[in-house]
């Protein structure tokens, strides 16, 4: 071990708790980032496997929205594909709920076993295996096959009760196929059946959801295109997977960014610890310099320490991250399940690249954070080490540079947000610049804020107390020690405040929106598996008639949720969610446009256009599809393409994928579809809503309908919202935990170093209780300053998250609501954390034998 390593090791050993806190802090930061990466990867993997298993080797697909492809067209399409060296296979599929396994689902996957071979290896295995009961699969009603792992995971028996929409059926598990490593078997919970079985169970007789195609060339594509029925189109198979993947990408990106906040706070913690370690050992470095150690050797010493700490922290962080990932994965998959799509069971696998990324992140973050303190140490003048005022003077000299750097980063934040393409990534880069820029300004603003607090204490007649005066001056005198700690605490508090305000604003906006839009009293639909409109099943007409015959209904608003194929102004096409409804005459106030209608006349004009066949689109739809009011969309319908105008963009928080609204009369005419997927009912005057719900449930009989009062629906919506943001709460508390650890380390270190001053004070007659009071007041000033400075940063961050990130990620716009209680809570939290952090060392200093303490001086 070299002499410098010896010095580093022994000086760290003098304060092992300080080193341990720093290591723990950065480890927590790495843990959060790694856990999120692992959980995201696992969820993505499960999602991808679900898609891969379903899409298989198909190059193209014939689709026709919710209406489906007429089965009669299959023969001609297959013949065209085969004639050109291609292949075709029909698919009917849907997610069904397992009645005996609440909350679990199975994807019913209807195929033609004789056409499957070129497409999906696993499903075609049923044909290859001679012992396989193929005849039963083809002929027995409700016969299905699942993989061995799926059967075990779901605990499936021979008879399986499922629900699809309002239909309950019993399936027969005729065989299980062993796990052959195929994606279809490994992860997705898929039940394979004959296409006719699926049609019968799903109520899709005569219709195919899609026809998978393998088309070797453009000639084959042309040939198949000519065989297409009206309303159907050929799309590349990859598009479907891409669309599904894109659904959750913003969600994953947001989680990753939140994880990085914890790491940035951890970096501040390391910077603070390293900075303190330099300041504390200024005398040592000066002596080393006087003895002939070069600046490079001092730099190597400090960076070497950081490297060792970084390696420890990174290894510990990755280990903690793997443990934390299992917990986060449950939240991630639950949110994806709530909002986007049902995915198979996801498990954390230790991805080597993520582990290496976590290790590198921890080590590099530590080195980066320690670089400035290390350079500062290397600049130690050989003679000045004994003078305490010099580091403070040097620190104060650096304040203008900090102000310049902070201001520059804030300007860069503005430039990135305004000048660069409005992507989520650039949004986070901009906010990151803003957050770090604001953090650099914290030490600059600390002195004026503390002076203001001292002035306030003076106004409150406390300023004349010598302890208050001493404490307020101590904060300023120890700026080189406290500045970064306060910045770290401010950043963490600001991050927590920003996220809290954003979530609070979002919650308020959702609450207001629900109160506006849920204008009916009772809502009826088949229970959905996810929030997306995909797979919404029409109610049986007889059931609908039975429901509408219930006395006490004043008005009915029927709705049809469907998926339709649309061509956008840029020429691209995609399947989109559509809600077709017949609005009640007085329900137009429930539709809020963004930007708001300029006048009642404008609202009336938009409404008239909608009634006449124009579209409303939701905000997320407008954002993701880059369309606006006045644009035209081509909607592909079985009766031909319809070029429709967007009459208005509506505020809608029901899904981040967006949807188009169409008058149901038009939908019925163009799609020849009278189906109703949901009903909104208004109770007649004097009828209790709950009574009406009870009567409707009675009328529904065994049909598993969701019959909900608007109040219950609102509560359920808010529950899903809270569940969705549960993961952000976990992450922001982890980030706050990292900051509090850092603060404890920093303030405890400052108090520890002030032991000499404390001893002098005690020698002058200050009692142990007054020593503790002094530390508490000093920490209170520090904490209050950190909390107060966190408020503008947090509010700005909340504005960024609300108006930039939410908008870019999900397309939602909303007002920022600054809850004063949250601001007070932030200051109280910072002050409380600071006081707790300073108490232990102050107590120790007050208990230390005075003679020993003075001897140390």
């Amino acid at each position: 071990m070299t002499i410098l390593a010896t010095i580093a090791w022994r000086s760290q050993r003098q304060h092992p708790w300080l080193a341990a806190l720093a290591i723990l802090g950065i480890a927590l930061g790495v843990a959060v980032a790694t856990a999120i990466a692992l959980a995201n990867a696992a969820a993505r993997h499960a999602f991808a496997e679900s898609i891969t298993g379903i899409v298989g080797n198909a190059s193209h697909q014939v689709v026709a929205g919710s209406a489906g492809v007429p089965e009669g067209a299959y023969a001609a399409i297959r013949a065209a594909a085969l004639a050109h060296g291609g292949a075709a296979a029909p698919v009917v599929e849907a997610e069904v709920a397992l009645i005996d396994r609440p909350g679990r689902t199975l994807r019913l996957f209807g195929i033609d076993p004789f056409a499957e071979a070129p497409f999906r290896a696993s499903t075609s295995a049923v044909q290859r295996d001679r012992a396989f009961p193929l005849a039963r699969l083809l002929t027995e009603p409700g016969a299905i096959v699942v993989s061995q792992p799926t059967a075990e995971a779901l605990g499936l028996s021979d008879k399986i009760r499922i629900r699809h929409g309002t239909t309950i059926r019993e399936l027969t598990l005729i065989a299980t196929v062993p796990d052959d490593g195929n994606a279809l078997n490994r992860s997705a919970t898929i039940a394979v059946c004959d296409v006719s079985t699926a049609q019968e169970i799903l109520g899709r007789l005569g219709v195919l959801d899609r026809i998978d195609l393998i088309l070797p060339d453009g000639e084959a594509l042309s040939a198949v295109t000519t065989a297409l029925p009206s309303g159907a189109e050929i799309v590349p198979a990859a598009r479907r997977g891409d669309s599904l993947r894109q659904l959750t990408e913003a969600f994953h990106t947001n989680l990753s960014a939140l994880g990085l906040i914890a790491l940035v706070v951890g970096m501040f913690l390391i910077a603070n610890t390293a900075s303190f370690a330099v300041v504390r050992r200024r005398e040592l470095f000066s002596r080393l310099r006087a003895h002939g150690a070069t600046p490079g050797q001092i730099l190597a010493l400090v960076l070497g320490e950081a490297l060792v700490a970084g390696i420890f922290a990174a290894v510990l962080g990755v280990a903690l991250g793997i443990a934390l990932a299992h917990f986060l994965l449950r939240l991630v998959t639950r949110t994806i399940g709530d909002l986007y799509a049902v995915i198979g069971p996801a498990t954390i696998s230790i991805d080597r690249s993520i582990v290496l990324q976590g290790l590198a992140l921890g080590i590099l973050a530590t080195l980066l954070a320690a670089l400035w303190p290390a350079l500062d140490a290397a600049r130690s003048a050989p003679r000045l080490g004994l003078l305490r005022t010099v580091p403070e003077r040097a620190w104060r000299r650096s304040l203008p540079w900090l102000a310049l750097g902070g201001g520059g980063l804030l300007a860069l934040c503005g430039a990135v947000l305004v000048g660069l393409p409005p992507t989520i990534t650039w949004g986070f880069v901009g906010l990151g610049c803003g957050l770090i820029g604001a953090a650099l300004l914290v030490p600059v603003l600390l002195l004026p804020v503390v002076s203001g607090l001292a002035w306030l204490a003076g106004i409150l007649a406390l300023g004349r107390h010598p302890l208050v005066t001493l404490a307020s001056r101590a904060v300023g005198a120890n700026l080189s020690r406290t500045g970064i700690a306060v910045a770290a605490l401010s950043v963490a508090c600001a991050a927590a405040l920003g996220m809290t305000l954003m979530v609070g604003s979002f919650r308020l906006a959702l609450d207001t929106w629900l109160a506006t839009t849920l204008s009916a009293d009772v809502y009826i639909s088949a229970p959905r598996l996810v929030a997306a409109r995909v797979g919404a099943q029409p109610l049986e007409p007889t059931l609908t008639a039975r429901l509408l015959a219930v006395p006490g209904i004043a008005a009915v608003l029927p709705k049809r949720d469907a998926v339709v194929s649309v061509t956008f102004p840029d020429g691209t096409s995609d399947d989109v969610d559509m809600a077709a409804f017949e609005p009640l005459p007085d329900s137009r106030d429930a539709f809020v446009a963004r930007p708001a209608f300029a006048s009642p006349a404008a609202r009336e004009a938009a409404w008239t256009a909608f009634t006449g066949g124009a579209l409303f689109v939701t905000e997320p739809f407008a954002t993701h599809r880059a369309v606006k009011a006045g644009d035209h969309l081509i909607v592909h319908t079985p009766t031909g393409d319809q070029r429709l105008t967007i009459a208005a963009v509506l505020v809608d928080y029901s899904s981040d994928q967006g949807a188009v609204y169409l008058h149901r009369e038009r939908y019925r005419a163009w799609f020849s579809d009278d189906g109703i997927t949901a009903l909104a009912l208004t109770a007649a005057p004097g009828v209790e809503v709950e009574d009406l719900c009870a009567r409707l449930r009675l009328a529904a009989g065994d049909a598993p309908l969701s019959i909900t009062s608007s109040r219950a629906l609102k509560t359920a919506s808010m529950t899903v919202f809270d569940r969705t943001f549960a993961i952000t709460a976990v992450i922001r508390w982890l980030a706050a935990g990292v900051a509090v650890l850092g603060l404890i380390a920093a303030l405890a270190a400052v108090q520890f170093e002030r032991a000499r001053t404390t001893a002098r004070l005690r020698a002058a007659g200050v009692t142990p209780r007054e020593v503790i009071a002094l530390a508490v007041i000093e920490c209170l000033f520090t904490g209050l300053a950190a909390g107060l400075l966190a408020i503008p940063i947090g509010v700005a961050l909340a504005a960024g998250l609300t108006h930039v990130i939410n908008r870019r990620s999900f397309g939602w716009s909303m007002e920022l609501h600054t809850d004063p209680w949250q601001l007070v809570l932030t200051v109280a939290l910072a002050a409380g954390a600071a006081i707790i952090a300073g108490l232990i060392p102050a107590w120790r200093a007050s208990r230390r034998p005075l003679a020993e303490a003075l001897h140390a001086d």
């Binding site: 002499i3 410098l4 010095i7 022994r10 003098q14 040592l284 006087a290 003895h291 002939g292 600046p295």
Partner: protein, 225 residues
């Protein structure tokens, strides 16, 4: 560098230095010859420590030049100044200037270690010379003030510097211990052919000097002892 190889251990050519508008040194000319012992006298705040800092290359003059062991300090880089201080200068301070993180042996061995040289034998011999043989494994804070200063003397001389700068080395010691330290410092410096600048405000130490410098109002006056 062997101390005998240089023409002068230290030369000040019209060196001036001010702090906060107050002139501490005003066009000072002075030379310390190899093997010579100079006692620098002056009141507190007269600029004695400034001369030490300038001589060790730890500060730069406002004007004039400092030549250390034949090297004009203004003409070499910061790194070269550091290496020159490491190899050609020994420092002894009132506050001992030992590193508490290191043992007695490691403190004395520090300059060799920084240079990547062994020097174990020299360190052990030096510890024996200052009366601390067998105590190399102890930490400085377990030693008395006199013992700590003996370690500092050993550390300042183990690498045979051309110039030893002792800034009030007896200021924190009682009279008897101070006498022991001064004797040690003079004996070991002379024994290794180095020069010694002994900074003090105590006129009694004039007795050890070949030459005496007096610093007053920024002016340096010299006299033979």
């Amino acid at each position: 560098m062997n101390p005998a190889d240089v023409k002068s251990a230290l030369t000040f050519n019209r060196v001036s230095k001010s702090f906060a508008g107050r002139t501490i040194l005003n066009a000072v000319d002075a030379t310390v010859n190899p093997g010579e012992i100079v006692v620098l006298l002056g009141r507190s705040g007269s600029g004695k420590s400034t001369i030490v800092n300038l001589a060790a290359g730890m500060e730069q003059p406002d004007s004039g030049s400092v030549v250390l062991a034949g090297h004009p300090l203004a003409q070499v880089s910061e790194r070269e100044r550091t290496l020159l201080r490491r190899r050609s200068v020994g420092l002894v301070f009132q506050a001992f200037n030992l590193l508490p993180e290191l043992t007695v042996f490691e403190n004395v061995h520090l300059r060799h270690a920084l240079d990547g040289r062994d020097g174990t034998k020299e360190v052990e011999a030096m510890l024996a010379e200052v009366g601390l043989a067998g105590r190399g494994g102890e930490h400085p804070d377990h030693l008395s003030g006199g013992e700590q200063q003996r370690v500092a003397v050993a550390a300042a001389l183990v690498h045979q510097p051309a110039l030893v700068l002792a800034d009030e080395p007896t200021g924190a010691l009682d009279q008897v211990t101070a006498g022991v330290i001064v004797d040690l410092l003079v004996r070991l410096t002379r024994g290794r052919g180095g020069a010694l600048v002994f900074v003090t405000h105590n006129p009694e130490y004039v007795a050890i000097a070949d030459r005496v410098w007096r610093l007053d109002d920024g002016q340096l006056s010299q006299e033979r002892s």
